[in-house]
């Protein structure tokens, strides 16, 4: 592949366990791609010198990514807003670090196979997006739980975003980072939802984007009704022959399990969910004492 590639995630220390699971699962299937953690919290040298943290190739404090008027700016957000508001500037910062193709993944994602084909797509396209759903809802329940929810919070799930160094991606980033700087709010009444709802406008505002329709990407409770997870040859697959690429374990310790139980049509789907819980618990044992957190009074 030409040019350096990177994957990054953004969170505070409360989500360090999830970020560790993501980084480890990503590295297992993608050895030649750097994994960067953008941290909205104390970057404690002792914590990050632990061997378990070696899956993070770089840990970057949001203070260092070039956000103007940084201290005052951070005061306006809650935790979700802050960790998503930094994403535009984080992309810009990582592009400045000589990476050519960059994929963002939410910390509550885990990878099950290589993302190489997505990096290949970025040789051709400037912007990659994954929709929450790929098919219309078939029942009223699915419509209310999933489709309507996407209309409210955004058609595309910004747990995944791929950008390549190009004029179109640069135009997109300029616009998106600018909007996030001022309006990255959970304010669905006014048509805004963090960094996500903005991207509904991508097909209208920009060219050379690709809507990734691979059903193994960004599998989550909101699209389990349309995707069946099974095993073939010891590997998890979606709809019989697509490899499960990455799964988004959204609201794991909240309503996520209820929605997963409601929509998972196979025991393998539930097993994937349970597996993540086990890994989170294991990840927590990797830092001997909880790192000091709350730098941004979140």
């Amino acid at each position: 592949m030409s040019g350096k590639c990177a994957v990054f995630t953004s969170c505070n220390l409360a989500y360090l366990d999830r970020a560790l699971v993501l980084a480890e699962s990503f590295k297992k299937h993608n050895t030649n791609v750097d994994f960067i953690l953008i941290l909205s919290d104390y970057v404690d040298k002792v914590v990050f010198s632990n061997a378990a943290m070696s899956c993070f190739d770089k840990v970057i404090d949001i203070e260092d990514i070039g956000i103007p008027n940084f201290q005052n700016w951070t005061c306006q957000f809650n935790v979700v807003e802050l960790c998503t508001a930094v994403k535009g500037h984080a992309f810009l910062h990582i592009f400045r670090m000589e990476y050519e193709r960059i994929i963002y993944l939410d910390p509550d994602i885990a990878c099950f196979s290589s993302l190489d084909f997505l990096f290949k797509d970025l040789l051709e396209y400037s912007i990659l997006l994954t929709p929450h759903q790929l098919k219309p809802a078939e029942t009223k329940q699915e419509f209310i739980d999933n489709e309507l929810c996407s209309f409210k919070h955004g058609i595309f799930n910004l747990g995944f975003l791929g950008l390549s160094r190009s004029g179109e991606a640069s135009k997109f980033l300029q616009w998106w980072a600018d909007r996030l700087y001022s309006y990255c709010r959970e304010d669905t009444a006014n048509g805004i939802f963090t960094d996500q709802k903005w991207c509904d406008a991508v097909p209208a505002f920009f060219d050379n984007y690709k809507i990734v329709r691979h059903p193994g990407c960004n599998v989550a409770s909101w699209n389990l009704c349309e995707r069946i997870i099974a095993f073939r040859g010891g590997k998890p697959v979606v709809d019989d022959h697509y490899p499960l690429v990455f799964y988004h374990f959204t609201k794991y310790f909240g309503p996520g399990i209820e929605m997963t139980k409601r929509y998972a049509s196979s025991v393998e789907g539930i097993a994937v969910w349970n597996w993540y819980g086990r890994l989170i618990k294991e990840a927590r044992t990797k830092y001997s004492e909880p790192p000091r957190q709350g730098k941004y009074q979140l």
Partner: protein, 568 residues
């Protein structure tokens, strides 16, 4: 609500008798056949049990067309017309067939019926099982504590050397001995392996061979190495000779016992039945010190040579096929995390010079070879069944309903991997209550909702065969979720003139029990369909083995004499 046109159309299609809960509306199907000359009407006059797959699919298509939605067929089997009419008085007052109403428009209006919830669905039960696993994560240590109720038995220990002396005093210096290792004390516990060991003991004694059984004092369904956070150093083992307990020694001292029994004059045979509850290192050391083993056999009673999930059930739920231990599938399984280390430890034992791997059925051999396992490719493997069925003739009987009830038996421990959940789901289905009797045969009743008969096999009166005959059981429901290596109860049930109901993945059962007395289903839904079909027809024709006998093998003696078919 139904529009008038649809309402008229449905009324015309069938007449509904509210006394009969609808399953398949044969009258409606007849009409369809008459109006569609392309369909042969031969099959509609046939017994539904004799419908071919193609005919079943055709019927399904007719139903789907009538109900306009593919989901209808699936739901139809769970539909309770009576409940639906209570909830929908408008439907009850009309001449509309409630089943067709529900499947053509009612479900879209979100009308619910009390029995639409598909209770007997394998998928639902299995999903629930996996969710349960997440609430109480599987951990060998937790199960160990559960099995031992938090405390381990701490018996008075004997010196291994003294115990060897004691044994030597009781047998002559030239007496041959069998050293047998198994997961529990076969002389006090019941089960297939235990039965084999008891019969081995008897046949060895008769032939002047001393049978020494070594079993862990605290049996658990794992090797000790998987108990990472539990102190296993003090693990002990019970030593018995010819069925009599002699004393308890440290597991780490097993090699001292065996070495002290080893003399130039005698032949020693090693039979490894199971190593769960042992430390693999203890077994490995015990065997490596043995220089003069005449023959060594390793019985493959289950798939513990592939995984500590000895049934090969992924998360205790689905048959996994034993993929490579570094596969994603193992990564996602609660057992998978132990597998790499476990297989490496096992490999030490499988390398014993001259050891033969013995399978109780060809099905077991094929399943074992199919997946990733610790047994090396060059190993000598042989098939030696635990017994065979001697059948005089196959007969058929007709049970007429509703004057008689069809009796369905579940035999053995009420375990999920043996199909207990599926049996309960059938037993609890109210559509079967009137015409079918469900009975559990085992050591103790598992639930007050299902009839129970004692059949622990300890006496002739409580043997499975006797209890099945006394209770006039027509069908033995033998539904393991895993491929059984050799299912004694299937043979015993066949010998008791029962017809066997099993699934296509049941290993030795589906493969070896004669097809004439076995019905093999793809899933549990089909069993329900099968019973409801009998109810609809008003009779069941059941084939069974008349005058059948189950003839067991003299296992150890057979092995020592070199019987069994070599595979390599």
């Amino acid at each position: 609500m139904l529009d008038n046109a649809t309402s008229d159309s449905l009324s015309a299609q069938s007449t509904f008798n509210p006394e009969k809960s609808l399953w398949i509306d044969l009258e409606f199907l007849n009409q369809q056949v008459k109006t569609q000359p392309a369909i042969s009407d031969n099959f509609i006059n046939k017994d539904p049990l004799e419908w071919t797959k193609a005919e079943q699919i055709r019927i399904a298509e007719l139903y789907i067309n009538a109900a306009s939605d593919p989901k209808a067929l699936l739901l139809n089997r769970w539909f309770d017309a009576k409940s639906y009419m209570i909830r929908r008085p408008d439907v009850a007052q009309s001449d509309i067939n409630p089943s067709l109403h529900y499947f053509s428009c009612g479900y879209k209006e979100e009308a619910t019926t009390t029995n639409v919830e598909p209770n007997p669905s394998n998928k639902v039960l299995r999903k629930r099982a996996v969710i349960d696993t997440s609430k109480q994560p599987f951990s060998p240590s937790a199960i160990y504590k559960d099995w031992t109720h938090g405390t381990r038995k701490s018996p008075i220990l004997s010196s291994a050397a003294k115990l060897a002396e004691l044994i030597s005093l009781q047998i002559s210096a030239t007496s041959d001995i069998v050293i047998s290792l198994s997961h529990d004390n076969a002389y006090v516990n019941t089960g297939g392996i235990q039965k084999i060991i008891r019969e081995e003991t008897e046949s060895c004694s008769k032939n002047g061979i001393a049978y020494i059984l070594i079993s862990p004092t605290n049996p658990i369904p794992f090797p000790l190495e998987s108990l990472s956070d539990t102190d296993t150093n003090g693990a002990t083992a019970l030593v018995s000779m010819n069925g009599q307990a002699l004393g308890t020694i440290m597991q780490s001292a097993i090699n001292i016992l065996t070495r002290n029994l080893d003399t130039k004059e005698r032949k020693t045979y090693l039979i490894l039945h199971h190593f769960f509850g042992f430390g693999l290192k203890s077994i490995s050391t015990c065997i490596s010190h043995y220089s003069r083993i005449q023959r060594a056999f390793w019985w493959i009673h289950d798939y513990s040579t592939s995984c500590i999930s000895y049934t090969l059930l992924f998360n205790r739920t689905l048959s996994c096929g034993s993929p490579p231990p570094d596969s994603n599938q193992c990564d996602l399984c609660e057992y998978g995390i132990h597998r790499n280390n476990y297989l490496m430890s096992l490999a030490e034992i499988t390398r014993i010079k001259g050891i033969q791997f013995v399978y109780p059925s060809r099905a077991a051999l094929e399943w074992s070879r199919h997946g990733h396992r610790a047994i090396p490719e060059y190993a000598t493997e042989k098939v030696l069944p635990h017994g065979r069925l001697d059948i005089v003739s196959i007969k058929e009987k007709t049970v007429k309903l509703p004057d008689n009830k069809i009796k369905i038996g579940y035999i053995g421990a009420p375990e999920r991997h043996k199909g207990w959940d599926e049996f309960c789901a059938l037993a609890n289905d109210h559509r079967l209550t009137e015409n079918f009797d469900f009975i559990q045969i085992g050591t103790s009743p598992a639930t007050q909702h299902i009839k129970f008969a004692l059949g622990d096999g300890r006496t002739k009166a409580s043997s499975v065969e006797t209890v099945l005959r006394e209770n006039h059981v027509d069908y033995a429901f033998i539904w393991p979720l895993w491929p059984e290596t050799f299912c004694f109860v299937a043979y015993e049930a066949a010998a008791a003139s029962c017809h066997i109901l099993t699934n296509s993945d049941s290993g030795n059962i589906a493969r070896d029990i004669p097809r004439e007395i076995t019905t093999i289903f793809d899933d549990i839904d089909s069993v329900l369909w099968f019973f409801l079909g009998q109810k609809q027809r008003g009779y069941a024709r059941i084939t069974y083995a008349d005058g059948a006998t189950f003839i067991g093998s003299n296992y150890s003696f057979s092995l020592v004499c070199g019987q069994g078919e070599d595979e390599k």
